[in-house]
Amino acid sequence: MTPSYYLLLSAVLFSLGAVGVLVRRNAVVVFMCVELMLNAVNLSLVTFARINGSLDGQVMAFFVMVVAAAEVVVGLAIIMSIFRTRRSASVDDSNLLKY
């Protein structure tokens, strides 16, 4: 099987995630779209690992997942903190860098 199908799916998923990040207004949904983009990249990494017959891509995909988990934890804490001060989870409302 040629890897083009996997790479094509990964490219399309990445673009979909980018659209979501740009279009969606709720910060949590923006996070979901970022997760989608990270997963698309993971699919590419695993495919590349498979093409080269090495393990490095899989290990990197593993690392990306761990960093994504850390990112979600900190991001949700920030969203909660913004929600507490501004009573909104919309990315359009958080227009100030200082509270």
């Binding site: 099987m1 040629t2 890897p3 083009s4 199908y5 996997y6 790479l7 799916l9 990964s10 490219a11 399309v12 998923l13 990445f14 673009s15 979909l16 980018a18 659209v19 979501g20 740009l22 279009v23 969606r24 207004r25 709720n26 910060a27 949590v28 949904v29 979901m32 997760e35 989608l36 997963n39 993971n42 699919l43 695993v46 495919t47 498979r50 093409i51 017959g53 393990l55 490095d56 899989q58 290990v59 995909a61 690392f63 997942m65 761990v66 960093v67 994504a68 988990a69 850390a70 979600v72 900190v74 949700l76 804490a77 969203i79 909660m80 903190s81 929600f83 001060t85 989870a89 509270y99």
Partner: protein, 176 residues
């Protein structure tokens, strides 16, 4: 069509369709649930690529932990459970341009670059926990240990950010 392609096509279709729904649905909770479907289908793709450990870690971390956290985030920010009207912001044109640009670039560069490559799955043992673990602890020990420190830092940071009595507001003397 080979067997792998026969399995891949429905998996890819499910991943694609549910991702479109994540981006377009007008109900927040459903977006999270469609994300579960998309991530599960991607885990199936990892299994097809014989990346067994990555697939199960994907199910554990993403489907198990990240989506639950996102659902908690939706609930804690008191998002409306039903339909919401103002979910999309006004920059659809910019999003369309960016999407077409990214998709075009990625498809021409990455897919075109690997047009002649082929996947040899071997005996399927290259992605097993034993092989990945051996590679991880033989060549990737330092990044692995750094990641454990990063996880600890993220944990402490999240606690400091979300607790009111020790957060930035309390230190500032502000009242929330």
């Amino acid at each position: 069509m080979t067997g792998a392609e026969l399995v891949f096509v429905p998996l890819g279709a499910v991943a694609l369709g549910s991702s479109v729904l994540v981006v377009t649905t007008d109900q927040l909770v459903r977006a999270a649930l469609w994300l579960v479907v998309a991530l599960g289908a991607l885990a199936g793709c990892f299994l097809l690529l014989a990346a067994e450990l990555v697939a199960w870690v994907q199910v554990l971390i993403y489907v198990g932990a990240v989506v639950v956290l996102l659902l908690f985030g939706i609930m804690l920010t008191r998002a409306p459970i039903g339909r919401s009207v103002d979910l999309d912001s006004g920059n659809r044109v910019a999003a369309l341009v960016v999407a077409l640009g990214t998709a075009g670039t990625l498809v021409t560069v990455v897919v075109g670059g690997f047009r002649t490559a082929s996947i040899d799955l071997g005996d399927g043992s290259a992605g097993s926990a034993g092989t990945v673990g051996a590679g991880l602890f033989r060549y990737w020990v330092l990044p692995f240990e750094l990641l454990s420190v990063l996880l600890l830092a993220a944990l402490v940071g999240a606690i400091v950010l979300s607790r009111r009595d020790i957060g930035p507001r309390a230190r500032d003397g502000g009242e929330d």
